[in-house]
């Protein structure tokens, strides 16, 4: 099978003075650099760009805004916006992500980050004592997926003769009431061309998410090197308990790529690294990679160009033959309806 390749990118401005100690993770690239990265990523056949929020090495622009902006310039690849639960009422996050998804024709997703609550929901929280971030993540993701299905695309009729815009009998509130949130719905806009936006869960996120917490809602699960061993088996079992199968989720291994890892003058360095990564993916049954180049816009473009063709396993197939939606590009089936 061909490997999925997701590119992690922080867009904004590097900190003037790096904080003490080696800053982990990527350095934000400026907006103009991000535009060049998106162009290169599309050309190379990257599946999706995950726009990071809140990195150590600088200030990051809002990923939903940057995603919508970049998608307006370079379409044809996926855009996954990181959105933290913190400060984001779920109804608002659901709207932004679905709007981005509809604007891109079904090429968007959200990397939901675990965290705290928001000022609006907190004041009306069903259980004010509920605080576990993993439990919040699960409930939040569940609310998102249900909201994204609350107004099915098929309900949008636009029968000018009969004077009916929407068959409102198909549009249903979700009437969610959990420990953290109470959300009635439905959402204001019809569902996406890909069923619903893709949900990415990062098992490295604050060290709070595990396969059990994400099994109900995640479409993509990202693990880092240290956690890759056994991740496939654990995920398969957690999905089975949630009534889902392993085929419904893409498991990606995260790889940080420092500037020194690739020598632009020596293509062999790219080939060696790609071979190493493919072996790693094979060993741990990973469906693909999340590349995290850490060296600025030029280094990101260089890494994308050097590694993507070697990692995709699709020699000979033209990049223009890419599937129409992000779900299809990830090799995922159309999502089943979410149970209440």
């Amino acid at each position: 099978m061909s490997h999925v390749i997701q590119l992690a990118l922080a867009v904004g401005e590097a900190a003037a003075r790096p904080s003490a100690g080696p800053a982990r993770g990527p350095v934000p690239v400026p907006l103009a650099g991000a535009v060049a990265v998106a162009a290169a990523a599309r050309e190379a056949g990257i599946t999706a760009i995950r726009l990071l929020d809140g990195v150590a090495a600088g200030h990051v622009l809002d990923p939903t805004v940057v995603g919508a902006y970049l998608a307006g310039l370079h379409d044809g690849l996926g855009y996954i916006a990181e959105v933290p639960t913190t400060h984001n009422p779920p109804y608002n996050a659901a709207r932004r992500v679905l709007s981005l998804d509809r604007a891109t024709g079904g090429l968007a997703g959200v990397a939901l980050r675990a965290g705290g609550g928001d000022e609006v929901s907190r004041a009306a929280a069903p259980d004010p004592r509920a605080a576990d971030p993993a439990a919040r993540w699960s409930e939040y993701a569940h609310v998102l997926t249900r909201l994204w299905e609350s107004f099915p695309r098929a309900a949008l009729i636009g029968d000018q003769e009969a004077g009916v815009v929407v068959d409102d009998s198909l549009v249903r509130p979700i009437d969610h009431e959990g420990a953290f949130y109470r959300v009635a719905g439905p959402l204001d806009g019809p569902s996406s061309a890909q069923g619903r936006p893709v949900v990415v869960a990062d098992l490295g996120d604050l060290d709070v998410l595990d396969v059990t917490a994400v099994a109900w809602s995640a479409d993509v699960v990202v693990v880092d090197r240290e956690r890759a061993a056994g991740a496939d088996a654990a995920l398969t079992e957690a999905l089975r308990r949630a009534g889902r199968s392993r085929e419904e989720v893409a498991l990606l291994g995260r790889v940080e790529i420092a500037r020194d890892d690739l020598d632009p003058g020596d293509p062999a360095t790219g080939a060696v690294l790609a071979d190493d990564l493919r072996d790693w993916a094979g060993e741990h049954r990973l469906d693909g990679f999340e590349l995290v180049p850490t060296g600025g816009a030029d280094a990101v473009v260089a890494a994308v160009r050097a590694l993507t063709p070697r990692l995709r396993d699709t020699a000979g197939s033209p990049a223009s033959a890419r599937p129409g939606t992000l779900r299809a590009a990830l090799g995922l089936p159309e999502p089943a309806a979410v149970a209440a």
């Binding site: 622009l61 919508a68 004041a123 815009v165 068959d167």
Partner: protein, 412 residues
């Protein structure tokens, strides 16, 4: 420098009328596609308008069966428009009732940066139980609390923008746009509003309103010219007067009746059951606007019509035609330009938030025929003189505050 006329286009999905989406030759569901918004924005930029304006509320309109409604989130739409245009200003409506101020200040400041200093935030309070239920509430917060929160929320957001040291846009920070016509809303407008999107049908009243807002601004230590007052203006353009009237008539005919009744009843918080279209509306049905929930601006407009004109229910529905109660001008490009010129020159408006009858055709007509007529009269720019929304509006960057920041009261 002489005063300059300002024009925004309000891309109110399919158009301001309840039947706009059914207008012959119109794609009824175009407003559910992003291209609808980006292509109108491009047209507005070609016409050198100040900005595009997006209305919004975080809920599904219960009347969705019979009319198109807002269905895309404004910051993501405007970010895409920013990618596809270069100069046009980008104004989006975002609720102070149902956003976290920390998140909103960051996102809107970032949108301003990404767009190169073209963003304006239309601050609204969100009325209605439908939206409230999407945020854990069972009913809308009362009007005074909504506005108290809106004032404090806005000050907090503006303070956060002013404190940014990195990723600052060329215009310094977004323009604050404010619409409320209620007494609470006017106070907020005088204090922090830079563009006032008002709803006025009467020129005398509009003149008094603008004067009051400008006096209010001065009372808060601002200059009168720091505030740009743009009433909503619904336009029905025809090649001849007869053509325009026919277009207006047709819009009435295609207005889904059930929609119009339900909407009026919902917005006024009253029951119209049992009242036929040819009966007058009993004034005693209406309560005082300050006691009514929902939009007070709309309420006041309708109450005035009912009290002064004593229309039948059918007559009132026709008059409003499913619109938001904004003034409707029907006529040739010259007649519409006459109206705009009169309001502008006599101090009733600094320009207009134009709400075309049908989108995109009504806006195409406005841009292709009314704008050139305004140019011929020397009222409207022939090209942009700057790159930011503040440049277009002739607004400087006022000092932010100082505000006494208090903990926000949740709109419960």
């Amino acid at each position: 420098m002489s005063r300059r006329l300002h024009l925004n286009v309000n891309i109110l999905n399919a158009g301001v009328f309840g039947g706009s989406w059914r207008f012959p030759g119109t794609d009824g569901t175009a407003s559910y596609t992003i291209e609808h918004y980006t292509s109108i924005a491009k047209k507005a930029e070609q016409a050198k308008l100040d900005a595009v304006f997006l209305a919004d509320g975080p809920s599904l309109d219960p009347q969705i069966r019979h009319r198109t409604s807002n269905n895309l989130e404004p910051t993501t739409v405007l970010a895409r428009i920013a990618a596809r245009t270069e100069r046009i200003g980008l104004i989006g409506t975002l609720s102070s009732s149902y956003n976290d101020p920390v998140e909103l200040a960051r996102r809107l400041g970032d949108l301003d940066y990404v767009s190169g200093g073209r963003f304006g935030w239309n601050v609204v309070t969100t009325a209605g139980a439908v939206a409230a239920r999407n945020f854990g509430r069972t009913r809308e917060p009362d009007h005074a609390l909504r506005y108290r929160r809106a004032a404090e929320f806005t000050e907090q957001v503006v303070t956060a923008w002013a404190a940014r040291t990195g990723l600052v846009s060329p215009q310094g920070r977004p323009v604050v746009v404010q619409a409320g016509g209620s007494s609470d809303g006017r106070r907020l407008a005088a204090r922090v509003g830079e563009v006032i999107f008002s709803a006025d049908r009467d020129i005398e009243h509009a003149r008094a309103f603008r004067a009051e807002i400008r006096r209010g601004a001065v009372a808060f230590g601002r200059r009168p010219e720091d505030v740009v007052v743009l009433p909503g203006l619904s336009t029905v353009v025809g090649g001849t007067e007869a053509e325009a009237r026919a277009r207006r008539e047709l819009l009435d005919e295609i207005l889904p009746r059930e929609y119009a009744r339900n909407r009026l009843a919902g917005q006024l918080g009253i029951c119209l059951d049992g009242l036929s279209d040819d009966e007058p509306i009993p004034p005693e049905l209406l309560v005082d606007p300050d006691e009514a929930g929902g939009s007070q601006t709309f309420y006041r407009v309708v109450k005035t019509i009912i009290e002064t004109e004593r229309p039948t229910l059918g007559g009132l529905l026709k008059k409003l035609s499913g619109g938001g109660g904004h003034r409707i001008v029907v006529g040739t490009p010259e007649q519409i330009a006459d109206d705009i010129e009169l309001w502008f020159r006599t101090g009733a408006a600094d320009g207009f938030n134009v709400m075309p009858d049908v989108l995109p055709s009504g806006f195409d007509d406005f841009a292709d025929h009314v704008v050139p007529e305004l140019r011929r009269r020397g009222l409207f720019r022939t090209d942009y003189e700057g790159t930011t929304l503040r440049d277009h509006l002739g607004l400087g960057l006022p000092a932010a505050g100082p505000y006494e920041l208090r903990p926000l009261e949740p709109a419960l």
